[in-house]
Symmetry: C2
Subunit: 594 residues, 2 copies
């Protein structure tokens, strides 16, 4: 998205020193909206030819040298005044935090909080909710025709009009996840009409990881472009980890409340109850979770449909609910209590991410009866959620060979009234553990082209282990590629300008510009320097792949220089130019020191 | 491809010691054909449940512990007797090797061969060609209805009948690249009816690399699954490097003779002549190059069509020919002399890879007039080549956004009478240098699904530098994923059995089997061990992602165990089972030591 929008150049606020900008080739800038507290961050890449390219920026205040961030204080509550000004919410005492919230129901040799000073030390806060249980959702506002500051914010981010944002939300074709208790976020939107988004999962487990690591993974993921982050922690300190993540996150945070609920019953699925689950949802809503995966579509009669599968039920939430249903021989308590759940979510503006608990876990199981039976139920639940003004997106698979991908998005769009689809991959083959970012990146690009609104990333460690910092980065970059490839294929306005800027830099041998425009400038520069490390090589009119004599770009440029710019000029002047070319010594290469 | 073919189990020759097989989880085996000297290598993966899975194997004799390979002697000439037995070729003195073949036209301070003992020391050999200039091509044989040993060999490899192989070659829908001077290769076939193939590029350049490195890259690439290798060397020692590569390569070798021809005129495109080019083609054909990229479609009138492009001409061969055409204001000498070139290639069974010299080099230039004008000429040349019984495939782009990919394969198939398409990627976006294996892997999977027969790999270093060993591996693995994903989507017989075997291993927590079935067992094992290194973890009924309590596979297995195998059983017995489940203590998890 280069600066072709007439509004952009005038309103960009350059708040970074000249030096900082120059040394890194880009800097953080802001586009101001109709009010001074509405400032949309962008990444401005400064090219060596004097032009600038403006890119979407998910990295939050951490990349702004003028903002003093401190993970112990948390981010500034950007949206707080907007929420208060609406006058439809109230602060209240909130649910007291209990030991079992951190998975410490019984005293155990494993001890309580492993790290007692891990309790978040930031500003004291009380939770907020819709006054009198009112639906304080962006969907409710949009349906009333209101354009909230959040909507204006994403309109600027997406380079569309605020009315488009409002209308897409009102129609249920897009969601703007923004819990009233997470005022720290920079609003973003998820819908097929907008840029394809990427979610990164983090989370500790019983086996490994710590609070500090999870907060760092979150900031690291958003630095590379994650649009939302899901905290899928399942070990100890779930509540506390989430608090740190939320208070420091500039992007919406998603969770699967069932994981924490299960911790509260010591991992015994059959001991789960609606009351424990509901309590957990309220706990998380008060903390500020922006969207929640709810596996309410895993109904009792669908469980037998998985009996002949190759890999059974591979969704954790799905398998927990299936175990509960079978243990009690009862319909799912999530399905049975779905309307009450809608009321709770509406009062905080928590967005539903209706989980696909019966998604396929292998190529063999793709698009089977169990999967699509659940999808039809998600369609039914989506309509109920909309009655309660709860924003809703629908989760999708999983493991699907290429020829079966399109059916997934087409059916989902039809059954779920075009609600945003949010898919995990899909992986297009199962034979490459350690490369599932790639097996799934292929499927992700395709399904996003066909209309999926958000892609849940997959890291190289999928199926093998918990991702570390490097894996998180690789997963995010791979999925940003898939998302951007889809934006291009969908003809998203402005998407191609980024590619064009990089292509121009490549043709003109502006190496520094190529690096700075790259999704991952650091690695691009490092790879170049491995073969041609010297500084002059960064302005050389060739690169190490072909060497000076064989560079097609160089030859192509020389041809253009020798023979004029446009086709007409070339055609008319070719015979003449041919003679001049010979007279000039037939030089298609510059002399290069050997 | 598991061993369901009745022929396979009986005829598999297990020639590896029990120990070797067990220690690595797989071993090399051979399937014998109708004659004792026709033995097709396969990779046999031994599963811990006693079953075995048979996979396609490109790694050559290097992975057979019973074969004593020595890069200074070269591989054994497997096909020599087949070629001699046909009685249609003759040995002859051949063209003497000249200094300029290694890029040493003029004495220069850079010296001659940098490494004089690099001259290949293997067995003396004379080149061979069709007696009296006869076309000794697999196409000619197929058209006569013959099934050569090479055809039988690939039929066994592909698990199809020899007649299918013969008919696809006869129809020009497939090629079996096999120069009579490269008897060392294990025959393979390229065509949409068969498994999608992957090519890996190697080659030194003026800037970097050495002969030893290139030979090692070749064996390394084939070890990970490269089906052919192109030697794109452009620096010194081109002839000698190629000789080493050919004598040691179990896969077909491709080249771009224009690169070497240009070296012979010290990089001055306008000094190229048909005679120098032809001499180079003969030189390489005598050495045994199996297929050659020929940019005969870059015609004079098409050059102006590139004038308004964002990135001009990005094919090296294309830009060299364009420079030549403009310098002389003449039609391409390759186009003008194409029939004579056909006669030469037919006498050695060198396969054409008709180069797309005007392919797009950026998203902006995809599917433009220049590209498709050239494609139409390639269609014309394809028909000429077929008249001369020369096997022919057609090269394709390049840089193409997803929504424009299908048009490429559809047009190519129509214009080129279904000749095999051989594409470079395509890259689906330009914004991710350092990740172009992924940007292009996405496009490669899609275009292969739609009918492309061979994919030219792209490494992470594309656009940045020359690939090293790790990059070669990453490129090959990424492209094997793309190729296999396409095989699945095309419903290639047997393709899914590999995925199924891995999915079964995953569901049953057979970790060692998962690793050994993986495209890259080493990395899969290493990633697993990073989080859970202990040996017991490799038999654990969970993994580090979820820990013991949250493992969906585990829960799903428990459900199946508790509630019976088939859907009917589950449905009938559910109420009863529910009670039993409760009676058993509602245990969905095994107790795990903490």
């Amino acid at each position: 998205m280069t600066n072709k929008d007439a509004r952009t150049p005038a309103s960009v606020q350059d708040e970074t020193s000249e030096e900082a900008g120059k040394s890194i080739g880009w800097h953080k800038a802001y586009i101001e909206g109709t009010r001074p507290d509405l400032r949309v961050p962008v990444r401005q890449v400064h090219l060596t030819n004097g032009q600038a390219v403006t890119l979407y920026d998910t990295s939050g205040p951490y990349t702004d040298p003028l903002v003093d961030t401190d993970v112990r204080r948390g981010l500034s509550p950007l949206r707080e005044n907007w929420i208060i000004a609406r006058g439809d919410t109230e602060e209240y005492a909130g649910r007291p935090v209990r030991p079992e919230d951190d998975g410490i129901k019984h005293t155990s040799p494993r001890g309580g909080l492993r790290n007692l000073d891990a309790v978040f030390p930031g500003r004291p806060r009380q939770p907020r909710r819709g006054r009198g249980g009112e639906a304080v959702t962006q969907l409710a506002y949009a349906r009333r025709g209101e354009i909230t500051p959040e909507m204006e914010y994403v309109a600027i981010r997406e380079n569309v009009s605020p009315e488009v944002v409002r209308d897409e939300i009102a129609a249920g074709r897009a969601v703007l996840p923004a819990n009233v208790n997470h005022p720290e976020i920079e609003p973003m939107i998820i819908g097929k009409r907008f840029l394809v988004k990427v979610n990164a999962n983090i989370g500790n487990s019983a086996v490994t990881s710590s609070i500090e690591e999870e907060v760092e993974k979150m900031t690291w993921a958003t630095r590379w472009g994650a649009d939302t982050v899901m905290d899928l922690s399942t070990g100890r300190n779930i509540h506390t980890t989430r608090e740190w993540v939320l208070r420091n996150s500039p992007v919406p945070i998603g969770t699967v409340p069932l994981y924490q609920a299960l911790e509260k019953v010591d991992g015994r699925a059959e001991e789960l109850t609606w009351e424990i689950y509901k309590d957990t949802v309220i706990e998380q809503a008060e903390q500020g979770v922006d969207y929640m995966t709810v596996h309410a579509g895993v109904r009792l009669p669908y469980v037998p449909l998985t009996a002949n599968r190759k890999t059974g039920i591979v969704s954790r939430g799905g398998s927990i609910m299936a175990a509960w249903c079978l243990a009690h021989h009862k319909e799912s308590f999530l399905y049975e209590n779905f309307e009450e759940l809608c009321e709770i979510l509406a009062a905080y503006d928590v967005t539903y991410s209706l989980g696909d608990g019966l998604r396929p876990g292998s190529i063999a199981d793709a698009n089977d009866e169990a999967q699509f039976a659940e999808l039809r139920t998600l369609g039914e639940l989506n309509r109920i959620a909309k009655r309660f003004n709860v924003q809703t997106m629908i989760e999708g698979p999983g493991h699907v060979p290429m020829h079966k991908i399109k059916e997934n998005i087409d059916l989902q769009q039809e059954i779920c009234d075009e609600a945003p689809f949010y898919t995990l991959g899909p992986l297009t083959t199962d034979v490459a553990p350690a490369y599932d970012h790639i097996t799934s990146g292929i499927g992700a690009a395709m399904i996003a082209w066909w209309g999926t609104a958000m892609l849940c990333y997959v890291t190289p460690k999928e199926h093998l282990g918990l991702p570390n910092r490097d894996d998180v980065k690789t997963g995010v970059i791979t999925y940003k590629i898939a998302a951007h490839a889809a934006d291009l294929a969908k003809g998203h306005p402005g998407a191609q300008e980024w590619d064009d800027a990089l292509s121009d830099a490549r043709f003109e041998f502006r190496w520094e510009d190529q690096f700075n425009l790259a999704l991952d400038p650091d690695t691009a520069r490092e790879f170049h320097d491995e073969t041609l490390p010297a500084e002059p090589a960064k302005t050389a009119h060739f690169c190490s792949m072909c060497g000076p004599k064989f560079c097609s770009m160089k030859i192509s440029q020389d041809i253009r220089r020798e023979h004029g710019g446009t086709r007409a000029e070339v055609e008319e002047g070719m015979a003449l130019k041919s003679k001049e070319f010979a007279a000039s010594g037939n030089r298609v290469y510059l002399p290069i020191a050997d």
